[in-house]
Amino acid sequence: MKWQYANNTEEYMNPGHLACPGCGGAYAMRLALKALGKNTIVVIPACCWSIIDGPFPLHCIKVPLYHTAFETAAVVASGIRAALEVKGKRDIEVLAFAGDGGTLDIGIQALSAVCERNDKIIYACYDNEAYMNTGIQRSSATPYGAWTTTTPREDFKKERKKNITEIIAAHRIPYVATASIGFPDDLIVKFKKAKEAKGTAFIHIFAPCPTGWRMAPELMITIAQLAVDCKIFPLYEVFDGVKYVINYQPKNIPVQEYLKLQGRFSHLTEEEIEIIQKEVDFNWELLVKKAKG
């Protein structure tokens, strides 16, 4: 594999940040900023990144960062965009960078409104499938079968993961994409496209959390690749809410291979794994149909 963008040595993030070892969320930011560059303002709601960037008076990323309340990332970004427009600063990107809780749950209202207004911001959700910063509680992004501290093994999460990508695409904003930290170049390209979008762009990033997923930190990337290759998290784009493009043909690996590396799924029986496999296959077929148009 030859890198096209990811090995570029321009970095907009300092070492010394406070993420756990092997943090997919920290890494996602590194890639996003590589794509967007210096002229970027980042908005961060309550999420792991509230901690990762460092406590006052420290700052990790090399662009301005506004910490805001849990449910407000999207709209604070809109406010910043409005201000930049008033000031005539057109060459600055505004990136809202939120976790799955801040996006799929508490932040969905403001996000939906921003999408409806088609405000020119990039909204990236780094999805680690639970409230990790507060100590691994289930969110609506937690997949079926997963253990969290609020869904103990005896009563693991029975509900399916909310499909935020489809929800956002339904707003028919110009650009919606999924990305995985296991595919850095693809992720960077998507942020570059988001930058060019004439309105709101939404990128849903699969970002493993070794701490919350009960897995070895060195597997951060491998898990993010497996999720894609098992079709659990396909890489695709939706243009204007209607045109679907699948960016990567998964290697079609059984979900078992993905699940078995993570302690949060260790209690699952073969039957339960089969339920997951069927759901994944069904979703994939649905996506393929959409991509065929």
Binding site: P64, H67, G79
Partner: protein, 392 residues
């Protein structure tokens, strides 16, 4: 909309539109708001100003008051003069972001039309919505007239930007918000002279990348919070200076409080909002009958103009605080404030508290007269609070 038909004219406008004109003249750059009765006319007129190009602002039509304040937070953090307006439940929903505006030291101006909280649903006025936000750290002005509303709006931006603290101006639902009065609309040049463009001390600058509002440990939090207290103390002085400066240009001033007929008064009523106008009329009548009564209007609620209140009220025998609000299980909120200010004084008056007019029930001259009579006759308050007009 033609500028020549607006500026420098006396127009008959509602309290809500007075806010809109104030915002127009202040050249707000970003407005974000969500409709709620009885605030809607403020934003409707502002929408028209923006649409016509009269006001060169970005108006973000958000999906909630929470987002309205959040959008203002973002825009102000990026260096713009920002405004929002709301009422009651909207203000309550904003609560979290009010803290953000204060902690972020963002000079946002918020107009709150005092409306009672549900349930049951009520659209009529009382002060519990704004007073519930007492401790978030906003500066709070309570207005008596539509002219004061317009003028305070303009002053609010200046105070906010000078002290890096957000300002809430409060007007009564319907009694002001939907009631038309003749209002002098200043010339834009004069307002521009009074209120130059906002130059932010801190803003999101890609050439000086910093993190705003990161995790603050106990090692640092208190000192930074203390800075907010410093800002409020500064605002107390600045509000007075701004009021004087405003007077120099526009010939109108309001003071932080207004002492009316207090010089030789034995009894002083303490009021806020539109009740002040009613009380003023009754005081005039009572004075003509020879009663030594006066009136203290609280215009600036936060920061608390403690020195002024002390100066006036330590000279009188009795004080009757008229509270269109209630802190359940205790008393009216203004009375608590007055009591706490005077408690350590050697000469202090008897303080009577009257809770009245909740949910927009009319407060008429007779109510004020009865309060004056009652207080006059009583030796001392036998109750912590008197519930005036409730059908027990």
């Amino acid at each position: 909309m033609k500028e020549s038909l607006i500026f420098g004219k006396k127009k008959v406008v509602t309290g809500n539109h007075a806010v809109s004109y104030g915002v127009l003249l202040s050249r707000a750059e970003v407005i974000a708001a969500y409709p709620i009765t009885p605030q809607t006319q403020i934003v409707e007129l502002l929408s028209e100003f923006c649409a016509s190009g009269l006001l060169k602002a970005k108006f973000i039509k958000v999906e909630s008051e929470h987002s309205a304040m959040a959008a203002c937070v973002g825009a102000a953090a990026a260096g713009c003069r920002t405004f929002t307006a709301t009422s009651a439940h909207g203000l309550a929903l904003m609560h979290e972001m009010l803290h953000w505006a204060v902690g972020g030291r963002l000079p946002i101006v918020l107009a709150n039309v005092n409306r009672s909280m549900g349930p049951g649903w009520s659209v009529w006025t009382d002060q519990n919505d704004s007073l519930s936000q007492r401790d978030v750290g906003f500066v709070q002005f309570y207005c008596e007239s539509n002219q004061e509303v317009l003028d305070t709006t303009i002053q609010a931006f200046k105070i906010a930007e000078t002290c890096l603290i957000p300002v809430m101006l409060v007007l009564d639902a319907f009694v002001l918000s939907h009631t038309s009065e003749p209002v002098d609309i200043p010339y834009q040049e004069d307002v521009d002279q009074f209120l130059p463009p906002y130059k932010p001390k801190y803003f999101l600058d890609v050439n000086d990348p910093r993190a705003f509002g990161g995790l603050t440990s106990p090692d640092h939090y208190y000192e930074i919070r203390y800075k907010i207290e410093e800002a409020h103390r500064k605002a107390l002085k600045v509000a007075e200076e701004v009021d004087n400066e405003f007077y120099q240009i526009f010939g109108r001033k309001y003071g932080l409080v207004e002492a009316y007929q207090c010089e030789d008064a034995r009894l002083v009523l303490v009021t806020s909002g539109t009740i002040t106008g009613t009380a003023r009329q009754v005081i005039d009548e009572e004075r003509s009958k020879g009663k030594r009564v006066g009136l203290l209007k609280i215009r600036l609620f936060r920061p608390s103009p403690i020195h002024l209140i002390k100066e006036i009220l330590t000279k009188v025998e009795k004080v009757a605080v008229i509270d269109r609000n209630i802190s359940f299980g205790h008393s009216g909120i203004f009375s608590q404030e007055i009591k706490s200010i005077l408690y350590n004084e050697i000469r202090r008056p008897m303080i009577f508290d009257f809770v009245i007019g909740l949910g927009g029930r009319d407060v008429v001259p007779d109510d004020i007269r009865e309060i004056i009579d009652f207080t006059y006759k009583a030796d001392y308050p036998q109750e912590m609070v008197y519930f005036r007009g409730v059908r027990l």
